[in-house]
C-alpha cells in the first residue's frame, strides 16, 4: 500500500457507509427457489429473443435467449427445470419487460464444471468464451464485456483497471468476492490483460477494505508469473467507483465528455465482472449466478448471498426471515444510484448488485424547498456541472436551455441531491432536463 491514497480532484461526497451491516458476513449460497423469472433484457443494448418454448426442458447453463441483431449478450438458464411460461415480469428500470419463467426441477443436482488450461488459448477464443457466457458489466449498466474488450484498433489501450472501489454505501459484494476469492479475481485480471495485450493491470480498492487489499496483494505476489498486478488503495469518497473518476484517480487522465475510457487508453472492468470472466474462460461457466448484498436496517437478516439470476426478491426476503415493520423503501442497487421498487415480484438480474431494505430514518422524505444558492451541489458535483442552475431552469419551465450547463455529462451519481440542504430532487430535475434538452 503506498502512503498517500489516490483520488480524483473535483467534487465527491461522504455518505454514511453503513457497510458494517454485511462486510463481515461470508458469502452464503441461497437454495434454489421454486421458480425463477429470467428477464430477457438485462444488459445495455437490444433485448434478447427467447430460444425456448413453453414446456421445454432446460438444464442449468443452457442458453435461453440471444440477441439477434445489435449490441447485447446471451442469457442462460440459471436452473434446471421446465419452461413454465414466456411472459412479462416487473423490471427495476423499465417497469415491465418480457421474461422466461422456469419451474425448478428440485431433483436435479448442480452442474459440474472443471477448470481448464486457458493460457494456451488464442485471444479470439478467449473473447468467444466471454461472449458465449453472456458476460456483461455487472457492476453498472450491463455493457457487454466482449464488446468492451474489443476496442477499435486506432485506440491505443495501455492500462487495464479492475474496479474494486465499491463506493456505494451498504454494498459489500465486491468486498467479499475479493476477500474470499482473490485467486479468481487475479486470474480473471490476467485473462483480461492478455486479451488486451497488456502485461500489467491496476486494481483500485477504496481504503475502507484493508483486508481485501491485503488479500489481493498477497495473491498477486504469489501468482504473478510474468504479470504486474498493482493494488492501489483509493481514498474513501463517493463516487470513487465511477469509471471516469476511477480513471482519473489511478492514471490522472480525464475522459472527455461523450467519450469512452479507451479514448484515453484505459479499459475498466468491475471485480465481479472479472470473476465472471474467470468462470467463463477457465470453467466455461455462463453468467447465471452472482453475489448480491441484502442489507438495510429493516431486513431481519442482512447477508451477502450467492443467488441465481431470476430469483425473485420475495423469495430472498422469505429466505432471510422477512422484513421489519418499519420498512419504508426497497431499493435495487446502492442508495446513491439504485432504483426504488414498488413490488417484491422483481427478479434479480445480472446487474443487480444489492437489494436494500431501508427504514424511514435511513432515507430522507422531507419535502423540498426553494434553492438557497448555498453552492454545495457545485462543490459536490464530480463533473463540475451546475445542478442548482439546471434545476432552476427546469422549474421555470426552460429545461431546453440547460444544455449550456453540460447536462449531458451528468452520470446521475446523486452527489448534488445528497448534499442539498433544501432536499431538492436535483437528479430528477437533471433527468427531465436531459429528456427535454436534446442536443
Amino acid at each position: 500500500m503506498n502512503g498517500s491514497l489516490l483520488t480524483f480532484l473535483k467534487g465527491g461526497v461522504h455518505p454514511p457507509e453503513s457497510k458494517e451491516l454485511t462486510e463481515h458476513l461470508p458469502i452464503e449460497s441461497m437454495p434454489l427457489p421454486a421458480t425463477v423469472e429470467i428477464l430477457l433484457s438485462q444488459h445495455f443494448g437490444a433485448p434478447c429473443t427467447p430460444l425456448v418454448k413453453k414446456k421445454d426442458e432446460v438444464v442449468e447453463g443452457d442458453m435461453i435467449g440471444e440477441v439477434k441483431a445489435g449490441l447485447g449478450a446471451g442469457i442462460h438458464s440459471s436452473v434446471t427445470g421446465k419452461i413454465k411460461n414466456i411472459a412479462t415480469s416487473a423490471h427495476p428500470i423499465s417497469v415491465s419487460a418480457s421474461s422466461v419463467v422456469i419451474q425448478t426441477d428440485s431433483e436435479a443436482g448442480p452442474r459440474e464444471y472443471t477448470p481448464c488450461k486457458w493460457m494456451d488459448l488464442s485471444r479470439d477464443e478467449l473473447l468467444g468464451r466471454i461472449k458465449r457466457a453472456g458476460i456483461v458489466g455487472i457492476g453498472g449498466a450491463g455493457f457487454p464485456t466482449h464488446v468492451k474488450l474489443s476496442p477499435p484498433p486506432e485506440a491505443k489501450v495501455d492500462t487495464l483497471i479492475i474496479n474494486g472501489a465499491e463506493c456505494e454505501p451498504y454494498l459489500t459484494t465486491d468486498h467479499r468476492v475479493m476477500l474470499e476469492h482473490p485467486d479468481q479475481v487475479i486470474e480473471g485480471a490476467k485473462i483480461l490483460s492478455i486479451i488486451l495485450g497488456l502485461k500489467e493491470c491496476h486494481i483500485g480498492i477504496e481504503a475502507n477494505k484493508p483486508d481485501a487489499i491485503e488479500a489481493l496483494q498477497k495473491t498477486a505476489k504469489e501468482s504473478s508469473n510474468g504479470f504486474r498486478i498493482l493494488v492501489d488503495s483509493l481514498k474513501v469518497k463517493y463516487p470513487q467507483g465511477s469509471e471516469k473518476q476511477l480513471i482519473e484517480s489511478i492514471t490522472g487522465r480525464r475522459v472527455p465528455g461523450f467519450g469512452l475510457p479507451f479514448d484515453v487508453g484505459v479499459i475498466v472492468q468491475n471485480v465481479g465482472t472479472t470473476r465472471a470472466v474467470y468462470d467463463a474462460v477457465v470453467l466455461e461457466k455462463p453468467l447465471y449466478e452472482k453475489v448480491i448484498t441484502i442489507s438495510g436496517r429493516s431486513i431481519n437478516r442482512p447477508a451477502n448471498l450467492l443467488v441465481r439470476v431470476g430469483t425473485k426478491l420475495s423469495d430472498i426476503v422469505s429466505f432471510l426471515g422477512g422484513t421489519k415493520p418499519e420498512l419504508s423503501k426497497v431499493l435495487m442497487g446502492g442508495p446513491m444510484m439504485g432504483f426504488a421498487v414498488s413490488t417484491l415480484d422483481m427478479p434479480v438480474t445480472k446487474t443487480t448488485s444489492g437489494v436494500l431494505f431501508l427504514t424511514e430514518e435511513e432515507i430522507d422524505i422531507r419535502p423540498h424547498g426553494q434553492c438557497i444558492r448555498c453552492g454545495w451541489c457545485l462543490d459536490a458535483c464530480p463533473m463540475g456541472l451546475s445542478p442548482n442552475e439546471i434545476a432552476i431552469y427546469v422549474e421555470a419551465g426552460r429545461a431546453e436551455d440547460t444544455s449550456q450547463f453540460g447536462v449531458f455529462e451528468c452520470f446521475e451519481c446523486g452527489c448534488c441531491a445528497f448534499v442539498c440542504p433544501a432536499k431538492r430532487p436535483l437528479v430528477q430535475f437533471i433527468r427531465l432536463a436531459k429528456m427535454k434538452a436534446k442536443k
Binding site: 465528455g257 426553494q370 433527468r431
Partner: protein, 340 residues
C-alpha cells in the same frame, strides 16, 4: 407479500445528508445571539425590545407575504428570523419602536417575496431594510446611539424612566472630527483596541463586540456553513485599503482600528456570506469580498456616511449573477469542441 406495501418510490439518491436549510439557518441564529446578550447587558433592555420587534415583524411579514402570494409558508426555516436579527443589529438601538416594522415590510415583502422568495432576492433583505430606513428617517437612523455602560445597564436604567443616553459612534467621530477626537473620546489606542474587541463602545448591536461575532463566525466556519473566502477577503481588503488611503499620507492608515470599528466583522461573517446574494465559487467569493472591502473604505473615506459596510455589500450584491456566469466550476472534461 400480499398486502399492498406503502413504500416510498423515488428517484436516486435515496440517502441524503443530515444538513437542512432549517439547521443552517437556526445555527446562524444561534451564532448571532451572543452579541445581543452582551448589548442587553451594556445598552439596556431597549436593544432586546428593538431586536424582538424586528424579528417578530420580519417573521410576520414573511408569513403574510407567503399567504398573500399563495406560497407555502416557510417561517419555520428561520431565514426571516435571521433577516430580523441582522436588521436589528445594523440600526441604532435607540430608534422608535415602529421603525423596524416598516423596515421588515420593505425587507421581506419587497426585497424578497416580490422577487420570487428565498433564493431569488438579488439584494440582502436586511440591508435593503436598513437602507430604506436610513433614507426614510435620516435623523433617527444616524443619531439614536446608546452609551455603553460597563456595569450592566440593564439594572441601572431599570425603573429610572430614562431609556438611555445618546452618543456618537467612533466612526462618526472619526469622520467628522478626526483621529485626535477619537482618541480623546475613547481613550488611547490600546484601550480602544481592547474595548472595541470586547464590545465597550457605542454603536449598533452588531457593531459592539468583535470577539463574540468572531466566535459565532468561526463556529460557522467550523461547521462548514460558510467558507473562509468572503470573510477573510473582506477583512483583509478593508485593512489594506485603510492602511493605504486612510491616513494623512499614503500607507499610514490604521487597519486594525478600521477592522474593529463599525460593522466589518458582522458584515464579513454574517452578511456578505449570505448564500443567496454572494457568489458560490472561490474566485468569485474572493473578488466579491475584496470589492465589499474596497467599497467600504471608499464610502468611509470619501462618501457621505461614516460607515460603509452595508452599502458596500448592497452594491456588490447585484454583481452576483454576473459573477456566477464569469466564475463557473471547472468542468471535469467537457466534450471536445463544445466550448464556446
Amino acid at each position: 407479500m400480499s398486502e399492498s406495501p406503502l413504500w416510498t418510490v423515488s428517484i436516486s439518491p435515496h440517502v441524503k445528508s443530515r444538513e437542512s436549510v432549517e439547521k443552517i439557518m437556526w445555527t446562524v441564529v444561534a451564532c448571532l445571539l451572543p452579541p445581543l446578550i452582551l448589548s442587553v447587558f451594556i445598552f439596556g433592555l431597549q436593544t432586546l425590545i428593538i431586536t424582538l420587534i424586528s424579528v417578530i415583524s420580519c417573521v410576520a411579514t414573511e408569513a403574510i407575504s407567503q399567504k398573500l402570494l399563495n406560497r407555502p409558508i416557510t417561517i419555520r426555516d428561520g431565514s426571516a428570523v435571521i433577516t430580523g436579527l441582522l436588521m436589528a443589529y445594523i440600526i441604532p438601538p435607540g430608534v422608535p419602536y415602529w421603525i423596524p416594522i416598516l423596515g421588515a415590510i420593505m425587507a421581506i415583502y419587497v426585497a424578497k417575496h416580490l422577487l420570487g422568495g428565498i433564493g431569488f432576492n438579488i439584494f440582502n433583505p436586511a440591508l435593503i431594510g436598513r437602507a430604506f430606513l436610513l433614507a426614510s428617517f435620516p435623523v433617527a437612523m444616524t443619531s439614536a446611539w446608546l452609551t455603553p455602560i460597563r456595569d450592566a445597564a440593564v439594572f441601572k436604567y431599570m425603573g429610572t424612566g430614562i431609556d438611555a443616553v445618546s452618543t456618537a459612534t467612533p466612526l462618526y467621530v472619526l469622520k467628522h472630527y478626526g483621529m485626535a477626537a477619537v482618541l480623546e473620546k475613547f481613550g488611547s489606542l490600546s484601550t480602544i483596541y481592547g474595548d472595541f474587541f470586547i464590545g465597550w463602545r457605542p454603536g449598533c448591536i452588531g457593531e459592539t463586540s468583535a470577539l463574540l461575532l468572531l466566535i459565532g463566525g468561526i463556529y460557522l466556519l467550523y461547521k462548514k456553513y460558510i467558507t473562509w473566502h468572503i470573510p477573510i477577503s473582506v477583512i483583509v481588503s478593508v485593512g489594506f485599503f485603510t492602511w493605504v488611503f486612510g491616513g494623512e499620507k499614503l500607507f499610514t492608515g490604521n487597519p486594525l482600528l478600521a477592522v474593529l470599528s463599525g460593522g466589518v466583522i458582522l458584515g464579513a461573517f454574517f452578511m456578505a456570506t449570505d448564500y443567496v446574494t454572494s457568489p458560490t465559487q472561490k474566485t468569485g467569493k474572493l473578488i466579491f469580498g475584496a470589492g465589499v472591502g474596497a467599497l467600504t473604505v471608499l464610502i468611509r473615506l470619501k462618501g457621505g456616511y461614516p460607515e460603509g459596510v452595508c452599502y458596500a455589500i448592497l452594491l456588490m450584491n447585484p454583481l452576483t449573477p454576473a459573477f456566477e456566469t464569469w466564475f463557473k466550476p471547472k468542468r471535469f472534461a467537457p466534450p471536445k469542441g463544445a466550448e464556446k
